[in-house]
């Protein structure tokens, strides 16, 4: 957990925004990879998974934040796990009722949202220390950031692996899809490539900042 709780601070745009970019759960914090890489072989699956996770994040943050003064420290992890598992079960049944196709595509991985470290991490390090609205805003930011990351993975894999986006063909008939992209190795490769891009951006920003600093301190 990288930051300390700041209870007295009001909600700033940063409460919401940091989850999307600077503390993006997937690309920066490398959390919650396990149950998600497997289902990002198409854009629609990625969106479904992202929304489901966002819902669980919001629900568990709300409840944990609401009960934060009631839960004794010794049983907090057990309480969080039960709360998270409840919301995941709800989402599981909801998706099943809404769309059989999506449910079959996601399979057991909806239930595996329980083991997504992002959610437990939010409950433990943020919701248990902050007011309800603030926790909710932060959870929403994290959820959006998570969905964004899945979308990045899912769209690239679908475009390269099936030559479609959201099911619509993008290229002509002559396009030979890179089937490997929608298979497990493709998940690793695309994630690796996105991580490269992110660390390159980060390095460039740092270099720029260093240069500016140098310019300020330069004599004359």
């Amino acid at each position: 957990m990288t930051y300390q709780p700041r209870k007295q601070k009001p909600i700033t745009p940063d409460t919401f925004l940091r989850g999307i970019w600077r503390e993006n759960p997937v690309f920066v914090m490398l959390l919650g990879l396990c149950p998600t890489l497997a289902v990002t072989n198409s854009t629609i699956n990625a969106i479904g998974m992202g929304l489901a996770t966002t819902f669980v994040l919001l629900g568990s943050s709300l409840l944990v934040s609401l009960l934060r003064n009631l839960i004794p420290k010794q049983v907090r992890i057990a309480s969080y796990i039960v709360i998270i598992a409840t919301f995941v079960t709800i989402v599981d049944y909801a998706i099943h009722a809404l769309s059989l196709e999506l449910y079959n595509a996601l399979g057991a991985f909806i239930q595996l949202i329980v083991a997504n470290c992002v959610i437990l991490g939010r409950a433990e390090s943020y919701a248990s220390k902050n007011r309800i609205t603030k926790s909710l805003v932060n959870a929403l930011g994290m959820g959006v950031g998570f969905t964004f990351a899945l979308l990045c993975l899912g769209s690239v894999r679908e475009i390269l692996g099936s030559g479609t986006l959201l099911g619509f063909p993008l290229f002509g008939d002559s396009f030979q899809p890179w089937v490997v992209m929608i298979l497990p190795p493709g998940g690793f490769f695309v994630t690796g490539a996105w991580l490269l891009l992110f660390s390159w951006l980060q390095e460039r920003r740092q270099r720029k900042a260093a240069k500016e600093e140098e310019a300020i301190h330069a004599p004359g």
Partner: protein, 194 residues
């Protein structure tokens, strides 16, 4: 081979549908503790052990839940019971076998919320495995996890000496390596399909 054969279940969990390389389960420890070979081995052992324990627990719970028609509580029960079972085991190992505890101890709490454990419990339920099949499946999955972890550790020790661009050091490179491993393991698909 028939999909229900014990030997096939083992092979399937071990290499064909390796938990890490085909299902992406247990990626956090896979990336986190695959730095050294001996740590990877211990982690693998501990995970196999926990998988075995939770597989037995999950089988029992599922029997009960199906009997009383409460399958919708499955997820909540699984995660709660597995987490507490692992903690109990940890305490017992600590008390009765300090040597074993020293080897596995620090990893046990890490593993409890490893997605591979819950994944195993859920998959064995969805595949409707019998008690014996579940146990074989859990051992196969654990062995597969250990194999993937050790292969990765071996690769990474070598990659430490390689001259790669600074930005690709760390996670990005690990993912690329894992991708290649996963590609290799795809060659096992189709085993036992005749």
């Amino acid at each position: 081979m028939h999909p229900g054969d014990l030997s096939f279940i083992f092979l399937n969990a071990f290499i064909i549908n390796n938990f890490v390389l085909a299902y992406f389960l247990g990626l956090c420890p896979f990336l986190g503790v695959s730095g050294k070979l001996d740590t990877a081995w211990n982690m693998g052992l501990a995970t196999t052990f926990v998988m075995f324990v939770s597989s037995v627990c999950a089988y029992g719970i599922n029997l009960l839940l199906v009997k009383y028609d409460l399958v919708f509580l499955r997820l909540i029960c699984y995660i709660a019971v597995i987490a507490s079972a692992v903690q109990l085991v940890e305490m017992m190992v600590k008390k009765f076998s300090p040597t074993l505890f020293r080897a596995l101890g620090i990893f046990l709490p890490l593993i409890t919320t490893n997605c591979a454990i819950l994944g195993l419990a859920l998959f064995q339920t969805f595949k409707e495995y019998s008690f014996l099949q579940s146990i074989v499946y859990s051992i196969g999955a654990g062995a597969g996890f250990t194999l993937a972890l050790m292969l990765m550790a071996g690769l990474r020790t070598r990659m430490d000496l390689a001259d790669v661009p600074a930005i690709s050091r760390g996670a990005a490179l690990s993912f690329m390596l894992a991708g290649m491993l996963s590609l290799t393991f795809m060659g096992f698909a189709g085993l036992g399909g005749h």
